[in-house]
């Protein structure tokens, strides 16, 4: 590579700026992959890996080799590589761009063969093998294979090329034949791993990891860097870059060996970037002072400023991989990722400015240098670093700075679809919607052998894409954008997910199932129960074998006791939370709750009291709070609270009653049936004191899949699995409400529904007082009594009664079908 032929670097001067365009596009795409909201990054995000490793680094290597060989045709390699990459960036047909990349790989291979014929050497042979890695990668891409499965072959190209260059540079230092053979052995292990990965990704990646570790060991043992790091100036800079790179290669090897094949998660991120940033980029930084002058035919004087980007690269990579991937901090991952980009761009900038300044008269360099060393410049630079870190952190985790008081689009769609059965036929197209944070329908059922096309539309307000386990994927779609995803002929069950980091874990997954196996081969996810009101209840829903079974030992009943009134201003803060709860024997569901329970907390006050209820939304979905006791236009009094925000609802209770409060965000049926309701008790004036006051909130549950949310289809068809008082079937049969003989008992009943009325009745205790619709229908002084308190959904009232003898007195809704489904309990009366 130091063989400088007397030929002007004209081609290089055209190709290198183009490579810079490619790297900018690749980095732009990386921003989108890091979860930032950047415009027009669809293609460059999907092709980020190819653009960076082949379009940018591959082009650099090809330019350098073409310069070394000095034959006109060898320039086809970098030219085709740049052309193919730019074609991909501009959104041209992917197959054409990939085909150009294949051409580039083949020409690079032939270039190596030609170099090897001029001078037979192990390093030239190894580099030719490495170029085959480029050819294999791009050929499989043309055949439609997903890049994630080709990572080992991309690594064959880059890691072996670089390792062989180290061998080349060490040739004057008397590397023994044995050492040479050891390196060939290490490379062979890696090649075996890459070859296995064509058929078996899991074991291939693991064997590849062993190969990477073997190469690391060889490099650390035989490379001169270990000695030269003790020298000064450029030699030391290069050695530092090399040794840091070797450390990352070792880390990468371990990650490959230990975790095997991963895709689109944090392990994948770490596996990839330890090798491709930590090793490859560091090696490129280290070699730049040697390679760049031979390519551009200009001196590149060493400057200590080269250390800046190198140090930033490694520090930010530690932040990204240790803080982000391993410790799970999204902010660390994003900041680290952006700083990775800053490091690369910084290096390009330092190199370019050094080349530029080296061409000027020397004094001007010193003037600029002195300027750069002034305290004001240092202060501004430091200040800009503070600015960058602050802005990146402030913007992390969201696509915009949403004011907590502003109205967001509801995160839920109003027309959600769950299981869709694709009609039989040769080819079917199924509409798929991507919203935060789910994919609808979550299950598509096809007959085996059917050709399936998914018409994917991003109906959310963030960017999303859809990738199937077969490897096909859409580009990153902007809100409102659509794309057709050809799933091909489906012969086995597939899964799908959004590859935007974090979205898969947050629930953006789907399944494509075969008609025959759909019923038994279900892989549940939390959102699978989202249903279209018109669809049939899912066969995957959880079932309670015995609603009246003894609750498990950890179960605690909801406290039915009415809390006393404290003061006339009621300040409370509730957190809206998604809580996985046991809602019936053997059935857990993800309930959406006000402050962790369904029903939510009981509010108790008197007429004229002020209620300040602060809602803090800790979920990924918008919710709101509708107090039936409140008046005013819903849009201003029932303000929607976006995820991560809070709002305080303030109202004065003008009228007495047993009021319902609930979430009124659409689809309201789903939000209510999934747990978002509770009771607000406002005492009428002159309410007589009684011995015991209880609150019973009636409601229905519609079981979705185990651990998931309720089944919307059942809600829409009014097919509850259980009807309950205070959130659990037969709760007070197992934990009876207490009373003593002669006690006056007041029971407040609120019906949260969503759809069933109830007729509250206590067996063996007629009511002498009944308050409903804001007035007394029966009073103790009346001759008549009441037998049921009939409460419609969204309504409430109370009854009073007393027990004359000790014993067990069942209470229930006299809608007997619902009593059997769980809406009953017991008063245990002692003497």
């Amino acid at each position: 590579m130091t063989d400088a032929r007397p030929k002007p670097g004209g081609q290089a001067r055209i190709l290198l700026p183009s490579a810079v365009i490619v790297v900018l596009a690749g980095l732009w795409g990386a921003l989108a992959r890091l979860g930032y909201h950047v415009p027009a990054a669809a293609t460059s995000s999907a092709d980020h890996g190819v653009l960076m490793s082949l379009g940018f680094i591959g082009t650099l290597i090809a330019v350098e080799r073409a310069t070394a060989l000095g034959r006109w045709w060898s320039w086809i390699a970098p030219a085709a590589s740049v052309a193919g990459s730019v074609w991909l960036v501009l959104g041209g047909a992917a197959s054409a761009g990939r085909a150009l990349l294949v051409v580039a790989g083949v020409v690079l291979f032939v270039t190596y063969v030609a170099l090897d014929r001029i001078q037979r050497s192990t390093h030239n042979t190894l580099m030719a093998v490495a170029a085959l890695g480029w050819v294999v990668t791009t050929a499989f891409m043309v055949a439609g294979r997903d890049v994630a499965r080709l990572v080992p072959w991309l690594a064959v190209f880059l890691v072996i090329t670089i390792t062989a260059e180290r061998l080349e540079l060490s040739r004057t230092l008397g590397i023994t034949r044995t050492a040479r053979k050891l390196l060939v052995g290490a490379v062979l292990i890696f090649l075996v791993g890459a070859t296995i990965s064509i058929w078996r990704s899991q074991s291939g990646v693991r064997v590849g990891g062993i190969g990477l570790l073997a190469m690391t060991l060889w490099l650390v043992t035989f490379d001169i860097a270990r000695r030269t790091v003790r020298q000064r100036g450029i030699t030391r800079f290069m050695a530092a870059g090399l040794l840091a790179g070797y450390a990352w290669l070792g880390v990468g090897g371990l990650l490959w060996l230990v975790f095997g094949y991963h895709v689109d998660d944090h392990v994948y991120d770490a596996q990839l970037h330890a090798v491709f940033l930590g090793f490859v980029l560091s090696m490129i930084f280290a070699h730049a002072p040697v390679i760049v002058p031979t390519v551009v035919r200009r001196p590149l004087p060493y400057r200590s400023a080269f250390y800046g980007p190198l140090a930033l690269l490694h520090v930010s990579l530690v932040l990204r991989i240790v803080g982000g991937d391993a410790a799970g901090s999204q902010a660390a991952w994003q900041i680290g990722g952006v700083l990775n980009e800053v490091a690369l761009l910084g290096f390009v900038g330092v190199t370019a400015s050094t080349l530029f300044l080296a061409g000027r008269r020397m004094p001007s360099v010193h003037v600029v240098a002195r300027r750069l060393r002034s305290p004001a410049a240092a202060g501004v630079a430091l200040g800009l670093v503070v600015t960058a870190v602050a802005v990146v952190f402030a913007n992390s985790g969201s696509s915009s700075n949403a004011d907590p008081m502003s109205h967001h689009d509801a995160a839920t769609g109003t027309n959600t679809v769950s299981g869709v059965t694709a009609p039989a036929g040769a080819t079917t197209t199924v509409d798929i919607s991507l919203v935060e944070m789910r994919i609808e329908p979550s299950t598509v059922i096809v007959t085996s052998g059917q050709k399936l096309i998914l018409h994917v539309t991003n109906k959310g307000h963030m960017r999303h894409d859809l990738k199937l386990s077969s490897g096909v994927r859409t580009t990153l779609l902007n809100p409102g954008q659509s794309a057709d995803l050809d799933a091909g002929v489906v012969t086995k069950a597939l899964s799908g997910w959004c590859t935007v980091p974090g979205h898969r874990a947050a629930g953006m997954t789907m399944n494509i199932e075969l008609a025959s196996s759909a019923s038994k081969n279900f892989t549940g996810n939390a959102m699978a129960g989202m249903g279209n009101p018109n669809s049939e209840p899912s066969a995957n829903d959880a079932i309670s074998k015995d609603l009246a079974a003894q609750p498990s030992s950890g179960w605690k009943p909801y406290d039915a006791m009415l809390p006393p009134v404290r003061g006339s201003v009621h300040d409370v803060t509730w957190h809206v939370k998604d809580v996985v709860t046991t809602v019936a024997p053997g059935v857990t569901q993800t309930l959406w709750t006000f402050d962790g329970t369904a029903p939510g907390p009981i509010l108790h006050g008197r007429v004229g009291d002020t209620f300040n209820v602060t809602l803090v939304n800790d979920t990924d979905m918008a919710h709101n709070l509708d107090f039936h006791a409140e008046s005013g236009p819903p849009s201003s009094v029932m303000v929607e609270v976006p995820p991560g925000s809070s709002h305080t609802y303030t109202f004065v209770a003008d009228r007495a009653g047993a009021w319902l409060y609930h979430c009124g965000t659409e689809p309201m049926l789903l939000h209510m049936a999934n747990g978002m309701y509770g009771a607000l008790i406002v005492d009428p004036p002159d309410l007589a004191p009684v011995a015991k006051q209880y609150v019973l909130v009636g409601s229905e549950f519609f079981f979705g899949p185990q651990g998931g949310i309720g089944d919307y289809a059942k809600m829409a068809k009014d097919l509850p699995d259980t009807v309950v008082f205070n959130g659990y079937p037969f709760a007070y049969t197992f934990a009876p409400l207490k009373a003593e003989v002669g006690d006056r008992v007041r029971v407040w009943v609120v019906d949260a529904g969503p759809s069933r009325s109830l007729a509250f009745h206590v067996v063996g205790a007629p009511f002498d007082t009944l308050f409903l619709d804001g007035s007394y229908h029966v009073k103790p002084s009346d001759a008549g009594g009441a037998q049921t308190l009939p409460v419609d959904p969204g309504d409430g009232g109370f009854v009073e009664f007393s027990f004359t003898q000790p014993g067990e007195y069942p209470f229930l809704t006299h809608v007997m079908a619902d009593a059997v489904l769980g809406a009953s309990g017991t008063f245990s009366v002692s003497g």
Partner: protein, 145 residues
């Protein structure tokens, strides 16, 4: 609509404007003039007494006003400790608070460096904290949108 809370916000913004504006005016207009027009000894005395006066104002007026009005505004905005971690408003506010703390520390270190005669480093830190102050304003603007 002008309410009592807008008065608190007004005080918060006005106080910040005086502080950041004061720093900018001193650093960009006044001190360069000082450097060009005054003889060395007088210049050093004057600039360090200006610095001390500004530090005194910061500690006795600016900081108490800013912290008190800031806490008030946070309460009015229903900011909780937990909400500071939330993406969006909370995280932007948290960043602003952290940068504010950093700027105060930097100003302190600047004063110490200056008093111990390390004027070059002191100047660098002065500029850093100046840029940092501008970041605070930027983040405050982001909060208001």
């Amino acid at each position: 609509m002008v309410s009592w809370w807008s008065l608190v916000r007004f005080i918060h913004v006005l106080s910040a404007a005086v502080w950041v504006g004061g720093q900018l005016t001193l650093s960009l207009l006044f001190l360069p003039l000082l450097r060009n027009k005054l003889p060395g000894e007088l210049r050093a005395t004057l600039s360090s007494s200006i610095g001390r006066r500004f530090a005194f104002y910061t500690m006795t007026v600016f900081l108490p006003v800013q912290v008190a009005s800031g806490i008030g505004l946070a309460i009015e905005h229903h900011v909780t400790w937990a909400s500071l971690a939330h993406p969006g408003y909370g995280r932007t506010l948290l960043t602003k608070l952290v940068v504010f703390a950093v700027v105060l520390v930097l100003s302190g270190v600047h004063g110490w460096l200056h008093s111990t005669g390390r004027t070059v480093q002191a100047r660098a830190l002065a500029v850093t904290s100046l840029v940092g102050s501008c970041v605070i304003i930027l983040l405050a603007t982001a909060l208001a949108t």
